[in-house]
């Protein structure tokens, strides 16, 4: 009987010493060592994707290196990731590619100098078009009054 009690106590002590996984507030069962690394990996992936979306694939037509399946794009994307890992900022990474390929490599040109045409012309044309349509509609809606006035003038007097 005593030995059985002793066995139960020892068993309970051993079980108490075995580390048990803790549940987080979200109910997830994540090892604390892996969690930050995964977060860092996902941040790295997200930064790489964002930057790769801004860079033009040199061997494609209007595709970013993120969207292009070409070998060169994949190599450029790997280089983007490598530069991020080495501690370079987003601006540094973009500046590197601009220094090699010129501003052409940026899918969205910088809003300065002649590039401003690309940013300003579409809204200007839109406004000009809207003004044109408004003037046209105004002239259309004005015409019937003129016609009715003249037809009224030409109409024989009522007796």
């Amino acid at each position: 009987m005593t030995s059985r009690v002793l066995g139960v106590v020892l068993g309970a002590a051993v079980l108490a010493l075995v580390p048990t996984p803790r549940l987080t507030a979200q109910g997830a069962n994540l090892p604390p060592v892996i969690q930050p690394r995964n977060a860092a990996d996902s941040l790295l992936e997200s930064r790489t994707t964002e930057l790769a979306r801004e860079l033009r694939c040199p061997v494609c037509q209007g595709l970013s290196i993120q969207d292009s399946p070409s070998e060169l794009s994949q190599q450029m994307r790997a280089l983007v990731k490598e530069q991020i890992v080495s501690g370079k900022s987003d601006e540094d990474v973009l500046a590197y590619f601009v220094s090699k390929y010129g501003e052409w490599i940026l899918l969205a040109p910088k809003a300065r100098g002649f590039n401003l045409v690309a940013y300003l012309l579409p809204p200007l044309l839109l406004v000009a078009g809207a003004v044109g349509v408004w003037m046209l509609v105004k002239s259309w809606t004005r015409q019937p009054q003129v016609v009715s006035a003249s037809s009224g003038a030409e109409a024989p007097p009522e007796d």
Partner: protein, 197 residues
């Protein structure tokens, strides 16, 4: 009538038409390189094709730009799958052989290709006068802003990119570029500075 209105419409359309007309004069496939005039990106590339004497290099050796300071370097990017590379290959080897007594170093960089395919291609093209090197991950190609093959860079003795040519380079043009650099004393007067790996 509407002469006034027509004049206004023409005036409004003129800038757009001018812009479109200017755009038609430009080749969208041609990418302006910012490299000419700037310091050439350093490289350290392993030889996979030795070339022919007296320009031969040992397979496995590493060629670095820093060790070529004082020489004019012709860096030609090519691949075995590139049709246009066949056009220029004989010209490149011919010019390289003509320049053996001058401070000029020719290097063929295999772009996105495997060494065995490159060696087969060289053999099929009756050899190559100058050494061929590998560019793993196309790092040197990206460093030189490459967007296709063949592309050729002529680097002066001071380590600056003097000229970039896209497409097959004719022998006459390449000779002219090298001769003009030699005449300007680019190779001879260049300081033999510290070796940069």
């Amino acid at each position: 009538m509407n002469w006034r209105r027509a004049a206004w419409a023409s005036l409004a359309a003129a800038p757009v038409v001018t812009l479109l007309a200017w755009g038609m004069t430009r080749d969208p496939n041609e990418i302006h390189s910012p490299l000419p005039g700037r310091e050439a990106p350093a490289f350290a590339l392993r030889v996979f094709a030795p070339g022919e004497p007296p320009l031969a290099r040992t397979v496995g050796d590493t060629l670095t730009l820093g060790r070529m300071r004082g020489k004019i370097v012709v860096l030609n990017f090519w691949a075995s799958w590139c049709l246009e590379c066949r056009v220029e290959h004989r010209d490149l080897s011919t010019v390289a052989r003509q320049m053996t007594d001058k401070p000029v170093q020719f290097i063929g960089v295999l772009y996105n290709d495997v060494a065995s395919a490159g060696l087969d291609w060289i053999q099929g093209m009756s050899g190559q006068a100058y050494p061929g090197v590998l560019d793993p991950g196309a790092r040197t190609a990206i460093d030189y802003g490459l967007y296709g093959v063949p592309e050729t860079f002529v680097i002066d003795g001071k380590g600056r990119v003097a000229y970039k040519h896209t497409g097959a380079i004719p022998a006459e043009l390449l000779t002219l570029k090298i001769d003009s650099l030699l005449a300007a004393g680019s190779a001879a007067s260049a300081p033999t500075g510290p070796v940069v790996p």
